[in-house]
């Protein structure tokens, strides 16, 4: 899932300075699972902002709402409050939600309350770690399910660098070396031959180097068209 982290309150307050009537909009998807942007966090953030405002002078008011997903048009029907009635929306969805809401409400500024960080898994209570980079050309078949693009600090594809030590990465001692993990896992699977194989330089065009990416499912497009023609 997409993991995101709340921006510092000061930064948010600064961002909201030009506005008086603000809607804090939560998202019930990924960011609510990583406890950054769900309904509870939207309510709490609105409260914090109102408290801060009441200390700094009158005029400001924050309300809150939350929908199932901010990255899908259909869920906006469930909005209890109309974003158009506010001076600004503070979205605490990931960047996708912020961007998509901005498109849906072109007259209303939609501002980000979170920093969107990575695609990760919940590895321990209160901890999320990066597992995937969304590189567009998955290599997990030959790396024992451990992603070197996301989890090796240098995104190496041919094996460990010289910085690995005691299974840790040269970047930080609390960071596992991805290539050490890959080596151990492939050994366990009896597949060290995969480590030995030469990997050709990657085509980063599938990543971001080819410009923004798009996914289209033709069959879904056709189906939608048929339905709308009926």
């Amino acid at each position: 899932m997409i993991v995101a982290d709340r921006k510092p309150l000061d930064e948010i307050v600064n961002m909201l300075k030009p506005y008086e009537n603000v809607l804090v909009l939560g998202c019930g998807a990924c960011v609510s699972v990583c406890l950054s942007g769900g309904e509870k966090q939207a309510r709490e953030l609105a409260m914090q902002l109102n408290l801060r405002a009441s200390n700094e002078g009158p005029g400001f008011h924050a309300d809150f709402d939350c929908i199932t997903r901010q990255c899908d048009r259909e869920f906006t029907e469930n909005l209890e409050k109309d974003p158009a009635n506010f001076d600004a929306v503070l979205s605490i969805a990931c960047g996708v939600g912020v961007g998509f809401m901005s498109e849906l409400y072109p007259e209303t500024p939609v501002l980000p309350g979170l920093n969107t960080t990575f695609y990760g898994a919940n590895t321990a209570p209160g901890t999320w770690e990066e597992y995937c980079h969304g590189c567009g050309d998955c290599v997990l078949a030959w790396t024992g399910g451990i992603c070197p693009i996301a989890r090796c600090s240098k995104s190496l594809i041919n094996g460990t660098c010289g910085g690995t030590h005691d299974g840790k990465c040269e970047v930080r001692d609390d960071l596992d070396c991805a290539w050490y993990m890959i080596y151990e896992r492939l050994k366990q699977l009896g597949r060290l031959d995969e480590y030995r194989k030469m990997r050709e330089p990657r085509d980063w065009g599938e990543n971001r180097s080819g410009g923004p990416r798009r996914l289209t499912h033709e069959e879904v497009m056709e189906l939608e068209e048929e339905v709308s023609n009926v």
Partner: protein, 303 residues
């Protein structure tokens, strides 16, 4: 076998015990002292080539290429170090062509220390290629093409192609050597013709590594970072992965009175060279500015 492209390659092919040294370009424009020192202490017929580091430890400084060019002008054969951290394949290949034009014939392909270890931790890391990919890129250039294709899908042709003596690095005394050895084999498959290792201080650990290397048949030069003090040795033990300075060496350094330190450094390095000599094709001396000790080290080691 094709003709050697450099004196360094020639020396390794002759089976000489080869010595290479290393200089680091300065942070700033004042490069003359580094070159003058190299000329004074490293140009003595025993040192086959001098590496010029490429933004070493991710600390911003002037380039390896300019250091190489000035060494050539001074009659010293350089080894262009190249890391994949800071440049994508376009910039790397362009620099390889440029270096060849300037007369550089030896290249050492490295991944490079991570940006977080240097003095610009907010910079964007590149790593378009890894060290294996860089060796593959050099191979393509030598074949007269680059890594791209024209509109018909054919490799782009070069107008004039380079030829290099291509090297790689390995960490021989890593706590888990097998993945290092496998990667070294891949580097050789990708075209590496020589190897200069990460620092070695323990001949028996190095022997263990050499026994694992088996049929990887390229000259391996054991790397030695010249130890300036006990503090430096301890720092390396705590902070440089795969480097273990034995306690006996640390003790020799810490027991030495200040005025004897450099003498001790020479003795320690020379002894290490003598111990490593039967196990490898040469040594790569990383002096970190103490080039002036190199002639004494060579003499004391009996080379």
């Amino acid at each position: 076998m094709s003709e050697p492209v450099s004196n360094f390659q020639k020396a390794t092919e002759k089976g000489d015990f080869v010595i290479t040294a290393e200089i680091g370009p300065p942070k700033g424009t004042n490069i003359r002292p580094v070159i003058d020192e190299a000329e004074e202490y490293l140009k003595n017929g025993k040192v086959s080539a001098v590496n010029v580091t490429d933004i070493q430890t991710a600390v911003m400084r002037s380039s390896s290429m300019v250091g190489c060019k000035l060494l050539i002008d001074s009659g010293i054969e350089p080894v262009l170090q190249m890391v994949t951290r800071d440049r994508n394949r376009l910039a790397l290949m362009s620099d390889l062509l440029s270096a060849y034009i300037l007369g550089v014939r030896n290249v050492l392909a490295l991944t490079g220390d991570h940006i977080t270890m240097g003095d610009h931790p907010g910079a964007k890391a590149v790593y378009d290629l890894d060290s294996v990919g860089l060796l593959q890129a050099i191979g393509r250039l030598e074949d007269g093409t680059d890594m791209g294709v024209d509109f018909k899908g054919r490799p782009n042709k070069l107008d004039g192609k380079p030829e290099f003596f291509k090297g790689c690095c390995v960490t021989p005394c890593a706590d888990c050597p097998e993945p290092q050895v496998i990667k070294l084999a891949k580097k050789v498959e990708a075209g590496a013709q020589f190897c200069q290792t990460q620092a070695v201080y323990d001949a028996s650990a190095f022997e263990n590594f050499i026994s694992m290397v088996g049929d990887i048949d390229i000259p391996i030069l054991a790397g030695i970072v010249v130890l300036k003090s006990a503090g430096m040795a301890k720092y390396m033990n705590g902070n440089v992965p795969g480097v273990q300075v034995p306690d006996s060496i640390v003790k020799t350094l810490s027991d030495a009175p200040k005025e004897d330190r450099q003498k001790k450094t020479v003795e320690i390095t020379a002894k290490l060279i003598r111990d490593l000599k039967p196990l490898c094709s040469g040594v790569h001396l990383m002096t970190l500015g103490w080039d002036h000790l190199v002639p004494d080290i060579i003499e004391e080691a009996g080379l």
